[in-house]
């Protein structure tokens, strides 16, 4: 686990409108090792989603350097799987056709890989279902399968379980760990859920808002699967909360 998959350095991003300019990301340095799971957590408006979009190549208006396996990221590609907040499945296509997307299921190799993915995200029996017939959690699993079929170097997840209820969310976190263990893809997850970050990641990156900068990087040295109610989990939670509160404590300019 030493080789670097994704390397972000000296990253600065400013949103400009006609008369204002907002500095959203300030000198971000972040590296994601191969097979590593890193979560980014921070208050809303800290630019964590923007950071992820830049890593994906969906946003290329920035200063600094973003590299995947030593090559500059110039635009979106299959090598950087992206899971959006909403599942964004094609509503007119069945589960298997959504996973295959632009590939033809008539091709034996594709067919085989799609079946493998359906097995991996545990959706056997739903191959022919339309997205309208799926629950939120199932839809998001289809989206994950669609990204993983393309064997990405890194999977970027933008608050993928934010819209799900607590039970489904826990279940989805377990499936994601399961998928990660089997698939060994590097994962970069943006979340606002502290428990989710601790439960899933090797490292947690805590971000500060206005301008968005990295405040702390907290390693999580617990063995998987992690016990959500255990003492070490609670200690880590206090640590992350402390880092976050430290972030928020500076922001005292509230007006009532």
């Amino acid at each position: 686990m030493t080789a670097t998959a994704l390397e972000i350095s000296h990253l600065n991003k400013t949103f400009r409108t006609a008369d204002t300019s907002t500095h959203v990301l300030d000198d971000i340095h972040l590296s994601l090792k191969k097979q590593e799971f890193v979560s980014i957590i921070g208050p809303s408006g800290c630019g964590k989603s923007t950071l992820l979009k830049i890593a994906a190549g969906l946003d290329i208006d920035y200063e600094g350097q973003v590299q995947l396996n030593g090559a500059d990221v110039k635009g979106p590609s299959k090598e950087k799987g992206f899971i959006f907040q909403e599942h964004r499945l094609f509503p007119w296509a069945t589960v298997e056709k959504n996973i295959a997307a632009d590939l033809s299921l008539k091709n034996d190799e594709v067919r085989h890989k799609v079946d493998e993915m359906i097995e991996l995200v545990r959706l056997k029996g739903f191959e022919k279902a339309y997205p309208k017939q799926l629950s939120g959690g199932m839809s998001q699993r289809v989206a994950i399968a669609r990204a993983l079929l393309r064997s990405p170097q890194v999977l970027l997840l933008d608050e993928p379980f934010g819209a799900l209820d607590a039970f489904t969310r826990n279940h989805m976190q377990e499936s994601l760990l399961d998928i990660w263990r089997q698939n060994q893809t590097s994962m970069l997850l943006v979340t606002h859920d502290i428990d989710e970050a601790i439960f899933l990641s090797n490292r947690i990156v805590v971000m500060d808002a206005r301008p968005g900068r990295i405040k702390a990087v907290i390693p999580v040295d617990l063995t998987y699967p992690r016990n959500r109610v255990g003492v070490p989990f609670q200690q880590l939670r206090t640590q992350v909360l402390g880092a976050l509160n430290h972030v928020e404590a500076e922001d005292v300019s509230y007006e009532i």
């Binding site: 299959k78 509503p91 632009d102």
Partner: protein, 257 residues
């Protein structure tokens, strides 16, 4: 839907037409309205049967359907292609759309005399008139369909590195399909409408000719047969497209009433 439910729905839908026919028949038989202007339904049906058996009706119907189809495919096809083009490319929209919108507001009936002057009474003027009628609904709806595509799905297509061709066939076309099929329905009914206009203006074959000819000999029954044929064929084609809709759009998750 169960068989019983289906029968019930059919009976409910048939209620008004059947009542009208019964009242009509009774009114004519009792001498309340002129037999010359309102031949009773039974006599209209006899006319229909005679014309069907003599082969007169199938011949004229075949000619009419052929005209409508050629006009629809030429006009509708062009409408679809140009509509998709202007939907996809801003440049094409800026060049084409203002002109097309201007032409769209010209009533078809107003330019019929011009078409006849230019192209005569032959097949060309008829097919061009039908094609022109069929063009606009498909143009407008294909354009709208493309512009209604969720831009979030384009992000997905970018991340998955869809080729330009797959962006069109896997994202734009399926997403625009509800609008395109609506356009097909409207185009077909407009084509059918223009066919009537074209054939009434002057023709020596077709259902419109049949009506015109029967009118000059006061064969009111035949006029009615022609009208009913127009209505039935129009309804049949519409049902065909709706069948296509229910097949192609079963993925849709919308209110069904």
């Amino acid at each position: 839907m169960t068989g019983k439910e289906r029968t019930k729905r059919f009976l409910l839908g048939a209620l008004i037409p059947v009542a009208v026919l019964v009242v009509w028949q009774l009114a004519v038989v009792n001498g309340l309205v002129s037999r010359q202007l309102f031949p009773p339904p039974t006599s209209i049906f006899r006319d229909f049967y005679d014309m069907l058996m003599s082969g007169e009706l199938p011949h004229h119907l075949g000619i009419s359907v052929l005209r409508a189809m050629i006009g629809f495919f030429v006009g509708g096809g062009l409408g679809l292609l140009i509509g998709l083009g202007s939907g996809l490319y801003k440049r094409a929209e800026q060049v084409l759309d203002p002109t097309i919108q201007m032409l769209r507001t010209v009533p078809l009936l107003a330019i019929t005399p011009l078409f006849i002057l230019w192209f005569g009474f032959g097949e060309l003027s008829k097919i061009l008139l039908i094609a022109m009628g069929a063009f606009f609904p498909l143009y407008v709806n294909a354009f709208l369909g493309v512009r209604n595509v969720d831009s979030k799905l384009f992000d997905v297509a970018r991340v998955l590195e869809f080729s330009r061709f797959h962006q069109l066939t896997k994202v734009v076309l399926p997403a625009a399909m509800p609008n395109i099929l609506l356009g097909v329905r409207l185009s077909l009914s407009t084509a059918w409408l223009c066919l009537v206009v074209a054939e009434l203006m002057g023709a020596d074959q077709g259902i419109g000719y049949l009506i015109q000819d029967a009118r000059s000999y006061m064969r009111t029954g035949v006029v009615f047969v022609g009208i009913v044929i127009f209505a039935v064929v129009g309804k049949l084609t519409d049902s065909l497209v709706r069948l296509l809709e229910s097949r192609l759009l079963q993925w849709r998750d919308s209110y069904r009433g």
